[in-house]
Symmetry: C2
Amino acid sequence: MELSSRVTKLLNIKYPIIQAGMAGSTTPELVATVSNSGGLGTIGAGYFSAERLEKEITYVQQLTDLPYSVNLFVPSDKLFIPEKVEHMNAWLKPYRRALNIDEPIVNISEKQQFEDTIDMVIEKGVPVVSFTFGIPNQSILTRLKERNIKVIGTATSVEEAIANESAGMDAIIAQGSEAGGHRGAFTETSSNLTPLIGTMSLVPQIVDQVNIPVVAAGGIMDGRGMVASMILGAEGIQMGTAFLTSEESGASQLYKNAIQHSKETDTVVTNVFTGKPARGIDNEFIHKMNEYNEDIPDYPIQNQLTSAIRKEAAREGNAQWTHLWSGQSPRLAQCSSASTLMERLVQQANQLLNQ
Amino acid sequence: MELSSRVTKLLNIKYPIIQAGMAGSTTPELVATVSNSGGLGTIGAGYFSAERLEKEITYVQQLTDLPYSVNLFVPSDKLFIPEKVEHMNAWLKPYRRALNIDEPIVNISEKQQFEDTIDMVIEKGVPVVSFTFGIPNQSILTRLKERNIKVIGTATSVEEAIANESAGMDAIIAQGSEAGGHRGAFTETSSNLTPLIGTMSLVPQIVDQVNIPVVAAGGIMDGRGMVASMILGAEGIQMGTAFLTSEESGASQLYKNAIQHSKETDTVVTNVFTGKPARGIDNEFIHKMNEYNEDIPDYPIQNQLTSAIRKEAAREGNAQWTHLWSGQSPRLAQCSSASTLMERLVQQANQLLNQ
């Protein structure tokens, strides 16, 4: 067994290691460092306007000539329910008052922003685009593929993996339940829950059902997780939390410290921050907001309603009122540079493969 | 890397493969077949009286001269709340009426039964005892160890693993969230939940914190899962669901069929059947009983209250009113004999190790 795979060939990278998008915490420096170290850096453009994305791409292109990717959030068809927004704004009032911030104006033009970022990705000749929260329509995928832009989907279940393959994706990220941040799910289980399948179960069951290469994600922090994933049949890995605490990450010191002082039992999956389920370190905001669970508007509304609260709380050093996305392996988090992390990862993986 | 490890030496077995106890579904034939195939068969004695356990041990000893183990449920200090039992009996009345069964008499002598089974294990010279739901008191562990009986604890978190090591356990089963059946947990997370850490995250974080050998459990069904677990640092694996659908298993055809027709998204963790969280295939009983969640008595009471209902429903072919424990990898379930399963497992593992 070796590290090169269909994933390294497809993406034209040396090692099958993808840095997860991590919208809000990725910097051009992190993206470029990962790519320059032989992996695939990813611009987490989930929340970006086309203008912001253009700036980030330009910056990354100045720092690396190697392949990188852009991760986009696929818009959903959820309805905008004004009453929920009204209720939620009432529940959020004490936080806004304490932090001295105003009620935001809600922007529901998610689809237009997505179309604009697709245009930008094509205009700038981005080599790889990955998608979270679903599969874009066929005309978008065709446009990307015509420009030889590689497309990667996200799946949290076998059903989602098959849907991604059928749509023409070049590869799939199999996101196990251990993963930090947003669940990439776009289907529900028989009990109307978001699928939370452990990486050990998810990867082989997906690999058995699709022909395109699978990239494992969820709980992977070092060479052990990398080689274990490849033994399960994955041809690459994606890591988020491992890169989030790296020097080049844009996460605040508060956020990095929270991960480094957490235990594997400290995270929960919650929709209170953005309206979509995501795994993060449990805190007061989650506990309080869980009481109003029926009033939580869907993504992207709840994200917009809580965004300024979270930013200001983090700025003031209040870890109890901000999101602290983390996977289930925080004890394995390191604080080195991303290049050192990449070097160690490859070295440990090679040792395990050759023992 | 090779299959022999501290676990094979400790347990005096050829391959580091443990068949999980699976109380209620294990047969002496299954236990003996696994042991005769080079693994460690386990008598799932969680619900057994000492008399029943004696019979099972005698039967297993007739079928194999090789090491086997007994799995016991450690009693907890939960209070018996008569009001909850009264309420639950009211909710269960329609099921009992439909199935024509009586209300059971509740037996709260869990501790005496546990002490009696410990005596029996010592009397019969059982080679290995594993524990679920906690750590027995020091005098019990000392008595077992004085007879050179190997003791294995179960951990669903790093904290539980450290507690097991401190208590003097010879090895630990690290039970990932993918695992079917009862969660072995005996602590709660910061949000008062049962720990549900994916195997990919749990194993390396436990391995880094203890010195005794770790056996991985949760989502492992074949050579891929076995070798991946060992790459993560485990020195053995425990499998339940994989053996549950084998020919020698005592699970009903209804139960086996349910697993073989399930998807990875079909299971949930629920306490409605026994009063302790356990992973099984979602069905009507779980949905209905979730409505009365505050009235569910703790284990072992709820187990006793629903036991006859589940047995009779299964006998009548009603999969909606019985427990169908399963891990998150039902798509990988096979229906061969346990010896064929063991052969295939070892062959695939050796192939992966030598590629």
